[in-house]
């Protein structure tokens, strides 16, 4: 998280830390046995990783503390239309992990709500993105073991598309923005999600209740002026999420 702060205890109880083959990623608790994350966290060279090499942590804001009690997965369910062999297509970047054991919720572990039917992503509405990914202290970036967060506004879809088109002119091939994605961030940069945050939640709040609006997916650099972070638009996947959970 660029430009963010350390999250106080129990403020983001749905945050999950994933460790896949040594790589760090994020996720969010959405039910007693289900974790939602980005598909690209659990797909390696086009293959869904085995649940055996997947290590899952939750319940603390400190990685060192969490590592004492990993949870096991029983299955990994990647969205069937996710296809990203060259890391240039993040469309449908969503996956579900089923846990071996049921979680009992408490103040440190709690599920995040799914979007309501017809949920809207209004431009400039402030959301919150969190994660154990790359952080900075204003001058340099580093790997942090503390959960960090940063509030970011939802960016107008056209504004975001224009920013990506502008970057494409100078940087060559970068992924496309689809309707299954949305952007969040500020044009002046300095506040963003970053590597290691993938799969973590971008939440919006309604009536005091946080809901999973986005999944940290991709972006051009981190916190760069004129660019925004791109998130999987969760509201587009309600049917698939429910179906997958019911069938499994």
């Amino acid at each position: 998280i660029i430009g963010g702060r350390d999250a106080p205890e129990n403020t983001i109880p749905w945050q999950v830390l994933l460790s896949v083959d040594g790589a760090r990623g994020g996720g969010m608790v959405i039910a007693e046995r289900w974790i939602m994350t980005a598909a690209h966290n659990v797909v390696n060279k086009g293959q869904t990783v085995s649940h055996v090499i997947l290590r899952i942590f939750m319940g603390h804001n400190d990685v060192d503390t969490m590592k004492q009690s990993p949870l096991n997965a029983t299955s990994v369910h990647v969205h069937p239309e996710y296809n990203n062999p060259n890391s240039l297509n993040y469309n449908n970047d969503i996956a579900l992990i089923k846990l071996q054991d049921t979680i009992t919720f408490n103040s440190s572990v709690m599920p995040l709500c799914l979007p309501a039917e017809g949920a809207t992503y209004d431009t400039n509405v402030m959301g919150l993105v969190s994660g154990f990914g790359i952080a900075d202290d204003g001058s340099k970036r580093f790997l942090t073991n503390k959960l960090k967060y940063v509030p970011l506004p939802v960016v107008d879809q056209e504004t975001c598309r224009n920013s990506i088109t502008s970057v494409k002119r100078t940087s060559g091939s970068i992924p496309d923005l689809t309707n299954n994605m949305f952007c969040a961030g500020i044009p002046e940069g300095g506040k963003d999600s970053c590597q290691g945050d993938s799969g973590s939640p971008f939440t919006l709040t309604e009536n005091g209740r946080h809901w999973a609006a986005g999944i940290v997916s991709w972006g051009v650099e981190c916190g760069r002026r004129g660019t925004y972070g791109v998130y999987t638009r969760v509201a587009n996947y309600l049917d698939w999420i429910k179906k997958t959970m019911q069938e499994n």
Binding site: A7, P8, N10, T11, T104, F105, S107, L112
Partner: protein
């Protein structure tokens, strides 16, 4: 029973003179011996008699004998002035035989073509019982009771006597009488007249266990008592009533004991009179009653049926519990209960108890629990309220969270359907919030 008539012997028949209805030939001497079974007499009825008439039936005649006694000698016809015609009156033999002798002389007047006789006979049962007492001093056929039968008779005796081996006379015998019917009538020999002297009679009334005997003496009671300085005593004549496990009771005097409830199913009566004095005896009706069991009482939180004014031998009672209670016997639950009044006047099983039913521990609720709102633990009509571990779980929908222990031993919500509550996780509401005060 009476012996069947000898099949050789005819019970009826017909006899007639030779060549009847043609004139009989002269110079005849013919005899018929009619015999019917013992115990019967013969009735002979003439249908026609036409024999040459003469004084004293000197020439032709029909003579009827019983053994050697002449019952009649007949001749002539019903219109003749001479002779001796029997008319329409039948002849009855004193015994079971009859002999007819028909004779004609050698002169048969040609002007008369007499056809002889024709007669029918039949056996008639002798009523030996109504026969006059023989004059030979041998006494009546039966000394007490005579019963006529077909062809014979039977002798019988009054109660307290038995028939001797001669089958005619009776001898006093009143011991060993056992009465086992539920009710009956007993009286002393010869009652209401005095019996022969020096007599001891025993009567035993014995009925099934579970019944008690009551004796009801008639008013006409007379057993000789002796006046002593201490008052009248049953010294020489008495009726002793013995009930098992009780002191025997001697009765005498002229006052009827009336009704005696023995409370026993076995009563022995011994009637004794010596060779002097005079007692006319006694008579009683006995009846039996079912043994009574004590009132069964009542059951707390239950009821006993049927409710009767008294409970007697073989009566059944049933026990049921009020709703929400169960029948318990010796610490074990029983589905139903009945008990019977036994012959010893005791119920074969004591009444059970009604214990309040128990629905058992309410179903646990995952991520929640329950509290008792009322009632004692898991008993009938206890109410529990389910709750979830808030703020992390909440009850699903508007599920009823109050469950009552019902009579069917199930925890039920206010609806009949048993729907277990479910705790659903609360999402998106952390217990701590990010507060940023710097602006």
């Amino acid at each position: 029973c009476s012996p069947l008539p000898d099949s050789e012997l005819q019970m009826y028949g017909e006899v007639h003179s030779p060549e009847y209805p043609q004139p009989y030939p002269p110079n005849l001497q013919e005899q018929w011996d009619l015999t019917v079974p013992e115990g019967y007499q013969i009735r002979l009825t003439f249908t026609h008699l036409d024999i040459e008439a003469s004084a004293n039936c000197y020439y032709d005649s029909l003579t009827v004998f019983y053994k050697k006694k002449v019952l009649g000698k007949f001749c002539g016809n019903e219109n003749s002035a001479d002779g001796y015609h029997p008319g329409n009156q039948p002849i009855l033999s004193p015994g079971n035989s009859l002999t007819l002798v028909f004779q004609s002389d050698k002169n048969n007047p040609e002007r008369h073509q007499n056809v002889g006789f024709s007669a029918q006979y039949q056996a008639i049962d002798i009523d030996e019982c109504s026969a006059p007492q023989p004059g030979d001093g041998s006494g009546p056929l039966c000394s007490q009771i005579c019963l006529n039968t077909l062809g014979s008779y039977l002798c019988s005796c009054h109660h307290g006597y038995e028939l001797r081996s001669d089958q005619h006379t009776c001898v006093l015998s009143c011991g060993g009488g056992i009465f086992d019917e539920p009710e009956g009538h007993l009286f002393s020999p010869g009652y209401p007249n005095h019996p022969p002297h020096a007599m001891s009679c025993q009567y035993i009334i014995s009925v099934e266990q579970g019944f008690t005997i009551s004796l009801n003496f008639t008013d006409n009671f007379h057993i000789e008592s002796m006046d002593t300085p201490e008052g009248p005593k049953c010294l020489h004549h008495w009726l002793q009533v013995t009930v098992s496990d009780q002191q025997p009771m001697k009765l005498c005097g002229r006052t009827s004991p009336g009704l005696i409830d023995t409370n026993s199913n076995l009563v022995k009566l011994e009637y004794h009179i010596d060779h002097e004095g005079q007692s006319n005896g006694w008579s009683l009706e006995y009846r039996t009653h079912r043994v009574m069991c004590p009132f069964p009482g009542s059951i707390v939180k239950g009821r006993v049926t049927p409710v009767l004014s008294e409970y007697l031998y073989r009566d059944y009672i049933y026990a049921r519990c009020d709703q929400g209670y169960k029948l318990m016997m010796n610490g074990q639950e029983v589905e139903r209960f009945s008990t019977i009044c036994q012959s010893n006047g005791q119920w074969h099983l004591p009444l059970p108890e009604c214990h309040i039913i128990d629905c058992g521990e309410p179903e646990p609720l995952l991520n929640g629990g329950f509290n008792f709102l009322s009632g004692f633990q898991n008993q009938y009509l206890s109410v529990v309220q389910y709750r979830c571990n808030e703020p992390f779980y909440r009850l699903f929908g508007d599920a009823n969270v109050n469950f009552t222990c019902e009579a069917d031993r199930k925890w039920r919500s206010t609806h009949d359907i048993i729907v277990q509550p479910v705790c659903l996780p609360v999402c998106g509401q952390p217990t701590n919030h990010i507060n940023v005060y710097q602006r």
